[in-house]
Structures are given as C-alpha cells and as structure tokens.
C-alpha cells in the first residue's frame, strides 16, 4: 500500500512538472500548429541559469536562506528564458510563417540542437549538481515520504496553471490568443496584432518552462546540457495525450503521464519477475504516445467543437 501511495506522490510531482512544460508545447501548437521542439532546451537553460546564478551568489558570500537563493536564481532564469523564447520565434519561426509545415518543424529540431550545443559550450558536458541549499525535511504522509520540495513543486505548479487559466479565459490578451488560434485573419481584422500575440505565447510558455526546468533540477539534484531532450519529449507526449492545442488537456496529460510512469516503474520489476528494472521507466511515456496516436490521435480532451455551421 505505501509503495503505491509513494509512487502516486512521486508521479504527481513529476506530472506537475510535465504539465507545466506541456503547456508551452500546447500553447504554441494551438496558435500556429507548430511543435516547438526547442522548448525542452528552454527548460534546460532555465535550470542551468538558475544553478549558475545560485553558485555565483554563494561564491560571492551572499548569505541568504536556501529558498531565497533559489528565488533569486529563478528571477534570473525566467527573463533569460523569455528572451530566448521570443528570439527563437522571431529569428527561426517567423520568417517561415507562410512556409509548408515541414519547414518550421525541421527548423525547430535545428534550433533545439543549436541550443544543446551552445549549452554544452557554456556549461560543459558533465552533470551539474544542484546546490545543496534546500531543506531536506521528509514528512510522513500515511506511510509515504514527501519532502518540502515536492510539496512546493506541486503547489507552485497549481498556482502557475491557475494563473495561466485566468490569463487565457479572463483577460483581453487571453481572448486575443484564443481568437488568433481559431482564425488569425479575422483576429487581425478585429485589430489584433498577431505577431504580438504569438510573441506573448512564446514568452509565457518559456517562462513556465524555465520554472519547470528549475523544478526538475532541484527534484533530481542535477542538470545537464542534454536534459531538455528527454523531458521535452515526455512533456510533448503529455500534450498529445491530453489533446495538443488544448490547455486543460496539457494539464491532465502531464499529471496522468507522471502517474503512469511512476506507478509503472514502481511495479515494473515485480511484473517482469525482475527482468526489467525501474530504470526502464522511460518506456512508459513512449508506450503511451504510441497508444494515443493509434487509438485516439486527438487526445483525451481533443474533441473539436463545430466551427462552421
């Protein structure tokens, strides 16, 4: 029983992170039908910038409590990621706005590789440990262990998702984003500057990605230049599982994928009689991806409301 609960908690934590990243994929897809494969690298750079920033502060002898150091790191990483997301769209995708869909897709993969290599030049090819600045108190939760960090990850994710929903459903910018996603030409007729809306989409998605990157690094105590690839693929899977282009779907898909992966890896050893261990956990994301693409390509929440009568 407590293994089940433990894996459920772990899955929820990882799932909230997937959900935050999946939102970035799904928002961009919703508005311009592009899979921004460079999004995983934004996540990685968010983590790297935060680690560097915290180490610099510690090196300079700044004596702040751990969470405040982390906050300082985040406040550095978020603008860097926003600027990076904005620049990628401006430089790599905007010139291809009217091109066949394959061209921006290949470009996205190219941008992803460029960012990976650039990160390797800056931060090296080795794992970067996450500074030991956070309290490691473990709470007992009905026989399962949960740390302060895990609680913070889940709460912060929920707050950010709530904020995003509010932005999209209740503000003028959000309305313009939804209108642009449905019909960019008519949104333009109504006075919406589509370029601004697309830039904002990248900026918002990138800031969520940066926060998620820091969560990943803190949760696994490390970061490296290639981490964006796998986490990006998984978050993309989560977005597809929920129904790509659907904001609620990204959240549901992220949480579900985290839980499936966590429970699956927890029991994989027992199920296969020890033949496959929990280090095969990455299998689950891709089994899910293939399953969704075969049986329900539109995703769980991907049903479309009639647009024309």
């Amino acid at each position: 029983m407590d293994i089940f609960l433990q894996q459920l908690i772990n899955g929820l934590v990882v799932g909230s992170i997937y959900a935050l990243i999946a939102l970035g994929y799904t928002m961009v897809y919703g508005i311009m039908q592009l899979i921004n494969f460079a999004h995983g690298e934004i996540v990685m750079i968010g983590a790297m910038v935060t680690i560097t920033c915290i180490n610099l502060l510690i090196g300079a002898g700044v004596n702040l409590p751990g969470p405040l150091l982390l906050l300082a790191g985040l406040l550095m990483a978020i603008p860097v990621s926003m600027l990076l997301g904005y620049t990628i769209e401006r430089v790599a995708y905007r010139p291809l706005r009217r091109a066949p869909r394959l061209a921006p897709l290949i470009t996205a993969i190219g941008v992803s590789i460029v960012l990976q290599q650039a990160a390797m030049l800056i931060w090296g090819r080795n794992y970067r440990p996450f500074p030991q600045i956070l309290p490691t108190t473990v709470h007992d939760f009905f026989g399962a262990a949960i740390t302060d960090l895990q609680i913070a990850i889940v709460i912060l994710s929920l707050v950010l998702m709530g904020g995003l929903f509010w932005l999209i459903e209740r503000t003028k910018l959000g309305r313009a984003m939804r209108a642009t996603a449905q019909n960019p030409d008519v949104a333009g007729l109504m006075g919406v500057n589509i370029n601004t809306v697309i830039s904002m989409t990248f900026i918002i998605g990138s800031s969520l990605g940066a926060v998620a990157g820091v969560m990943v690094a803190a949760n696994y105590d490390q970061a490296h230049a290639y981490m964006g690839f796998m986490i990006g693929l998984k978050a993309f899977t989560a977005a597809v599982l929920g129904g790509i282009g659907n904001i609620g779907g990204a959240v549901v898909g992220g949480l579900l994928l985290g839980i499936i992966e966590s429970l699956g890896s927890g029991y994989l050893g027992d199920l296969t009689g020890g033949f496959l261990g929990s280090h095969y956990k990455d299998i689950f994301a891709f089994v899910v991806l293939i399953g969704v693409l075969v049986f329900r390509p539109s995703g769980l929440l991907g049903e479309r409301v009639a647009e024309r009568a």
Partner: protein
C-alpha cells in the same frame, strides 16, 4: 464634400492573375452602396483589399481623405474600417459575448463597450439568449448576426459586408437584410457585396456592377433594378 471612401484606379493581382483591373468607386457618408456581379468578378478581392488583407498592385484608396496603403492589417479597424468576412469568420470556440468583445478589441472604454454589447443584444434578441453559448454551436443565421454584431462593436465609420446571405435559408436572408436596413437607418455607412443582386439593390441607395475585374455600370439602385440588361444578367427576369 469629399466621399468617405474614394477608390481610384485600384488594381489587385494574385500570383499573376489580375483579379481587379483598375476600378473607381466612391461612397459618401451615410450611404448604403451595393457591389454586385457574378462569381469571380473580383468583388470579394476588392473588399479584402479595402481592409488590408490583400495588397493592391496599383491605384489609390482614400479613406476619410487619407491613403490607407501604409496601414498594417490590424490598424484598419481603429480607423473605422471593418469587414464582415465571407463565411462569417466567427470565433467558434469563443462565446457569443466574447465574440462581441473581440469586435471592440481596439477600444478601451469599458463602460461604453458594455453599453454597445447591450445595444447589439437589443438589435439581436436571439443572441442575448445565447450570450454564453459557444458561437460555433449557433445556426448559420445566428452566426451571421454574431459576425455583424461583432463588426458593429468597433463603431465602424464604414461597414463592409461580404456575401451576408451566403449559405442561409431564404427566410433567414430576409431577416439579415432587415437588420442591414436597421443598421443603415442608424446612419452607418455600408458597402455590401452580394450575389443576391435583387435583394442587394432593393436595400441599397446606389449600386456598382462588376464584371471580370472591372466596374461596368454605376447608377442609383432604382435605375439598376429597372435596367433591362441587369435584369437579364443578374436578376433572373
């Protein structure tokens, strides 16, 4: 007095095809002008050019005495030029009310916007009942009302209507034209592109006839309705 809209020798080409081959057209403040013609005559292209969706290849468009050539596509609505596009172009996954709010996107006067939404609802009581319904779930006629109401929300100086009767049942078409007359009676200047030439000319003050990219006739709507050639070619009589 200068006309509100003054088109001089407008030419439009898409990838080598000359859709509009040098037309002159003008609209005075308060007029309802119909642009009629067969499929592919260049009517819709003309409207799209007026709101910057298509760039002209030559000629000049003066709106309120000023050239529009340098405006970005999203600047037109702020100048008072708004198009109700062919096929309605509503935002299907936004509610009726959100669609109307999109029409007022360039305005910032919250109280006035709320008043104008009420005004649209008084014009279209059907929409009031459905204000929080997704616009994509409405019938074609109701969607056309959303599209017209949305355009009204920008307080246009010139309202451009592209085939408002398209795909609608005859009884709904009558209803839509009733609304067009009501809007005209409020003093809104309109340019109406229609394949239903008879209804358009019965509604309009003046009309232009367009044939393969050229204006071939321009006259009062009453004279065009009485014109034998027009009757044979467009009115099915």
């Amino acid at each position: 007095m200068n006309p509100l809209l003054d088109i001089k020798d407008l030419k439009v080409a898409y990838g080598g095809i000359h859709a509009v081959k040098g037309i002159d057209l003008n609209i005075n403040k308060g007029e309802l002008v119909a642009l009629i013609g067969a499929n592919g005559a260049g009517k819709s292209t003309t409207l799209k050019t007026l709101v910057g969706m298509v760039k002209p290849a030559g000629g000049e468009i003066l709106f309120d005495g000023k050239p529009t050539a340098r405006l970005a596509p999203y600047d037109y609505v702020g100048k008072g030029l708004v198009l109700v596009p062919e096929g309605r172009g509503i935002f299907g996954r936004l509610t009726v009310e959100e669609n109307l709010q999109m029409g007022a996107y360039v305005r910032n006067d919250k109280a006035d916007i709320a008043n104008d939404i009420d005004r649209v609802f008084s014009l279209f009581p059907r929409l009031k009942e459905r204000r929080s319904q997704l616009a994509g779930t409405l019938s074609g006629g109701e969607q056309q009302m959303v599209a017209i109401g949305r355009a009204m929300m920008s307080r246009p100086k010139l309202l451009l209507l592209d085939e408002p009767s398209m795909g609608l049942a005859p009884i709904i078409v009558q209803k839509i034209f009733e609304i067009i007359r009501m809007i005209a009676a409020e003093g809104v200047t309109m340019l109406l592109v229609e394949q239903n030439a008879k209804l358009a000319l019965q509604t309009a003050d003046r009309g232009y006839v367009m044939e393969s990219g050229r204006i071939t006739l321009a006259d009062s709507a009453a004279n065009l309705l009485a014109n034998e050639k027009i009757q044979q070619a467009y009115l099915g009589e």
